[in-house]
Symmetry: C2
Subunit: 202 residues, 2 copies
DNA sequence: TTTTATTAATTGATCATTCAATAAAAAACA
DNA sequence: TGTTTTTTATTGAATGATCAATTAATAAAA
């Protein structure tokens, strides 16, 4: 049956199947057999395209991160204001593609594996730092007196809502999470404005 | 060698060993062999006291939850004010016993397993609800206009700081987390007070 | 003599990886 | 153009390791 040029097709099929398996059954129950079966190919092909199981898992996590990155870029207007940037970050993190139960479970599975798998830990840390520095930059623009702290608060709030949603039987309530994050942002900005007024009049 | 009355001793040894194994090597690498070895007993004894591996894991998670519960009770003064109650909750969640890297990793491992293991999911949900309802009750006492939302925010912030710390190479920075949560609580209370004034003068 | 405590070895299942075999397609060659 | 060789794509079976659970055996204590 072999046709030429299957590599990109098979790679994508296998990555998709991996996401589906992890989301559906978790990391522990995701075997190369179950992935191959879902992708409709033989298990041996995984070694051919990804070297081994870890290689496939790494490629899968990379794609999740890439998707998140592109999603944010797509939501950012040209020359965004600080408020717009924060808003785009919030919306991206609670977008449909990120909060459907399958993706949410896949993310959390990778997060917990990152504790003991250096490959995942590295990727996870890059993502975490990007979120934090994007937020910090925005709060700096808003003259927040403690941009680092404000960014840490909002980043943790996003991750926390995310985690609680992933573990909840109802899944992530995106609208409610976005509303909560927006409200929190307003709170943090109002603190920044009060500070601005105080230093101006001082 | 058998002595009588070993049951409580062995149970505790095995639970401790399980926590240590999961915290050190993660869920995937924690086998009954590795637990038994660390506890200095034979693997067969696990079946004798806990039925099977899942039974031991469940007992381990129960102990983590119990410890958290007792920790909070110990920190609550008699007839606490709402502020005191919130403060005790924050301090408990970032206490030494909860934030040392081993415990943090063990918690996160159970959280992610809860996605696909109903036994863990049930226990995790009970804990989550207790945190939320404790906070909601306190914000209600403070006349916060949206106690449910305020509780959701602080609970998510706690979990988020917790998650980010568990995945960070530096571990959980308890002091910083507590300071952040306190600051957030003040923010939320100040909103409550403004609301009180508005409704009084209206 | 029965109960409690414990081990070490066995069993059977599962899993990732490797490997030999197969064949279509492409390239090299005649 | 026709033929041979090489490359690419794929499978299914084997290999060997690992693991949870079971079991038979042992012995102290009641």
């Amino acid at each position: 049956m072999p046709k030429v040029g299957m590599e990109p097709i098979r790679r994508q099929q296998l990555i998709d199947a991996t996401r589906a398996c992890i989301g559906e059954s978790g990391f522990a129950a995701t075997t190369v057999q179950s992935i191959a079966k879902r992708a409709g190919v033989s298990a041996g092909i995984i070694a051919h395209y990804f070297g081994n199981k870890l290689g496939l898992l790494e490629a899968t996590m990379r794609e999740l991160l890439q998707q998140l990155k592109l999603d944010l870029i797509g939501r950012l207007p040209a020359n965004p204001t600080a408020e717009q940037r924060i808003d785009a970050i919030i919306e991206t993190n609670f977008s449909k593609t990120q909060t459907d139960p399958l993706s949410a479970k896949t993310w959390l599975a990778f997060w917990s594996s990152a504790m003991h798998e250096p490959t995942f830990a590295r990727l996870q840390r890059i993502n975490e730092k990007r979120l934090h520095s994007n937020l910090r930059y925005s709060f700096k623009q808003l003259n927040h007196p403690a941009p680092n702290q404000a960014a840490g608060t909002l980043a943790a709030l996003i991750d926390g809502l995310w985690l609680r949603g992933a573990l909840s039987p109802d899944g992530i309530q995106a609208d409610r999470c976005i509303a909560l994050c927006r409200h929190q942002t307003e709170l943090l900005i109002s603190v920044a404005k009060q500070h601005s007024n105080n230093t101006e009049t001082a």
